[in-house]
Amino acid sequence: MFIVNNCQFYIIRSDRNGKLINEENHETNHLIYKLFGLKNLIKYSFSAICVAVLAALCGSVTALLQTARLNGGASVDIISEWYYIHDTGSADATPQTRARFARTAILAVVSSEAIYFFSKTDAAGRPLDPKCSYEIVGSMPHALWWSITAYDGDKMFIPNALRRSSIHSQNVVCRAQNYFSIHLSPNEKEENWLPATDARDLEVMIRIYHPSPQFRADPRSAELPRIQRVSC
C-alpha cells in the first residue's frame, strides 16, 4: 500500500491476511510537494489544468488570427502601398510565415522564380473600394512576364462578363515604353480595364515571374506602379 501525506509518503507492507510486515516512512524531495503540500497540490492541480487548457486554446486562437492575413509578421516589407512578402515557399521561412502563406496564397513559388506584391490600399493609404475607380500607373521591373490581378475580399476572382481578372505583360497597352495605366474600375474602359464589379472588398496582386537578377537581389528598392484613386 502506498500512502501520501503532504511531504511524506508511507509504504506499508502486509501479508495476504492483512498482517503488518513493516512500515517505511519516506520524505519526498518532490519540489511541488515541498512547495504546496498534497492537499494544496490537488486543489491547485485542477486549477492548473484548467488554466493550461485555456492558455493553450488562447495560443491556438491567436495563431489562427495572426495567420489569417498576409500582411503582418517579420517576413513582410512595405513598399509604398505594396506589401512584399519574402521567404515565400522557402524552407527557411518561419513557421508563422509558412502558415500565413498556406492560408492566404498556398503553392507560391520561391522568390528566385517569382516575386509577389499585394495591396489593399491606394497610394494615399485609403482601403480599396470596389465602388471607386482607380488607375494603376507606372512601369514594372524587368522580368520574363508580370501580371496585375484583382481579387475580392475572399481572395477569389471577381466575376465579370469579360472573364478578366488580370492584365499582364503581353496584353497591357503601354502609353510609352514600359509605362502603362491600368483602370481598376466598376465602369468599362476602352483599354487596360480590370473590372472590379460586384466585389466585396478589393485587393490587387502583382506577380513578377523570372525577375532579373538585379531586381531579385533587392526587390525592396523596386519602383512599383502606384494605385491612384480617380473617382468614387
Binding site: 495567420t67 512576364w145 496584353n171
Partner: protein, 176 residues
Amino acid sequence: MRKLYTIGVFTVIIVGFFWAGWRGTVGYIPIYLMSDLEKRFARSAGGENVMRHIRTFGPQRSKVPRANPDSIVSYCVFDLSEGPVRVKGNFWPVYSSVALYAHNTDNFFVLNNLQAKNGAFDLTIIGDANQSIPDGGLKIVSPSNRGLVLIRRFVPSKDMLEAVHENENTTTCEPA
C-alpha cells in the same frame, strides 16, 4: 513566499501552454491545408502519381486563394511510399515551370523553361538521397513522402489553347 511561488508556477504554466498552443497550431496549419489540397487534387486526378491537366483558359472558380488566372496548370500528387516517382514532359515555350512542394507547403524544387537545356524536363523524385533510381531523370530528394508537382504555363491568349493542350499531353507523372 508560498504565494509568490504559486504565482510564478501559474505564470510559467500559462506562458508555456500558450506558446505550445500557438506553436502547435502554426505548425499544423500548412500540413492540414496541404493534406486537404492533396486529397482533393488526387481525387480529381484519379489517384496519386497521376498527372491531371487543367484545360480551361482564364479565371476559374477555385478553392485555392489568390489563384493565378494567366496560367494553365497540370498537377500530380506524388506518393513515395511505394518508391520513386518520375515526372517528365516538354516545357511550354512562352514560360513554364515545374515546381515541387513538400507536405508542409515548402517549394523545395523549381525549374523553368529558360533553365532547361533542351526544352524538356525529366525528374525522378525520391525520398532518400542514397536511394538508387532507374535510368534517366534528374534525381530530386523530397523532404516528405507526399507532396505536389505543379506545372505552370503562362498562356497570354485564348488562341494558344490548342497548343497548350498538346504541350500538356506530353507531361506524365508515374511510379519510376
